[in-house]
């Protein structure tokens, strides 16, 4: 059963768009970078990833298959 919202402004204030606040995102970024820096010590001398940059306009659109 759906809950009736009586105070729309308050409900909007409580709703967190995208589930994250910017300060939470920044905190998480700093934490991740700290962990990543350890891994980065083993970075290959030269690094690149990607497909055919000349075929960007020809790529299929529907690519949302699940990973597992």
């Amino acid at each position: 059963m759906t809950r009736k919202v009586h105070n729309l402004q308050e409900a909007r204030r409580k709703k967190r768009p995208n589930g994250w606040t910017l300060s939470e995102i920044e905190k998480r970024a700093a934490e991740e970078l700290e962990v990543y820096q350890e891994v980065a010590k083993n970075e290959p001398e030269n690094l690149a990833s990607g497909g055919d940059m000349g075929a960007i306009l020809d790529e299929p659109e529907d690519d949302d298959d699940k990973s597992q």
Binding site: Y36, Q37, A48, S49, G50, M53
Partner: protein
């Protein structure tokens, strides 16, 4: 260009800038995140002369096509002091549930010493993924086994059939 495309370009340009600013605040001194500006694309032209370059991409035309097709894209140029050290382009998947890192290239080592780049790039992708509420980040088409294994060390899992690695965006 359709009005809806222009609108998306405008809205997502704002999100890209927020993401890069947030990444900048977490970055060490000396590193700078920017969009793929003409200055960045010009700086990457010099990479074509490096004999140890792994790819033959033309960033000017590649970026132009990517920008035309994907208004929701993520883009970043990573600078170390006044030198460009990496470029990357990515985009949300069709339904927006995942964020792809489609292209990344670090400046060839032959052109001079530079900092490591991937940790900083993945951190920025994490920021953009969370701003979009994407569930995972995918690194598309690692160029060789060494690079693939390096990405795996960040906690990414390789999907052989599709040739990408993915990692859940942790909450």
């Amino acid at each position: 260009m359709l009005a809806t495309h222009q609108d998306a370009e405008r809205r997502y340009d704002g999100i890209r800038r927020v993401a890069l600013s947030a990444a900048q605040r977490a970055a060490p001194a000396g590193l700078r995140y920017e969009l793929l500006t003409p200055a960045a694309l010009n700086a990457a032209v010099a990479w074509a002369g490096a004999s140890d370059r792994l790819v033959t991409w033309h960033w000017f035309s590649g970026y132009s096509a990517f920008k035309f097709r994907y208004p929701k894209r993520f883009e970043l140029a990573l600078w170390e002091h006044s030198g460009l050290v990496a470029l990357s382009l990515g985009r949300p998947t069709y339904n927006g549930s995942n964020l792809r890192l489609d292209f990344v290239e670090a400046r060839p080592k032959e052109l001079g010493n530079r900092t490591t780049v991937m940790a900083h790039i993945l951190m920025a992708y994490g920021v953009y993924a969370r701003l979009l509420d994407a569930k995972e980040v995918r690194i598309m088409h690692p160029i060789n086994d060494e690079v693939r294994d390096y990405y795996a060390a960040f906690g990414y899992t390789y999907v052989a059939g599709k040739d990408y690695l993915f990692k859940q965006v942790l909450t």
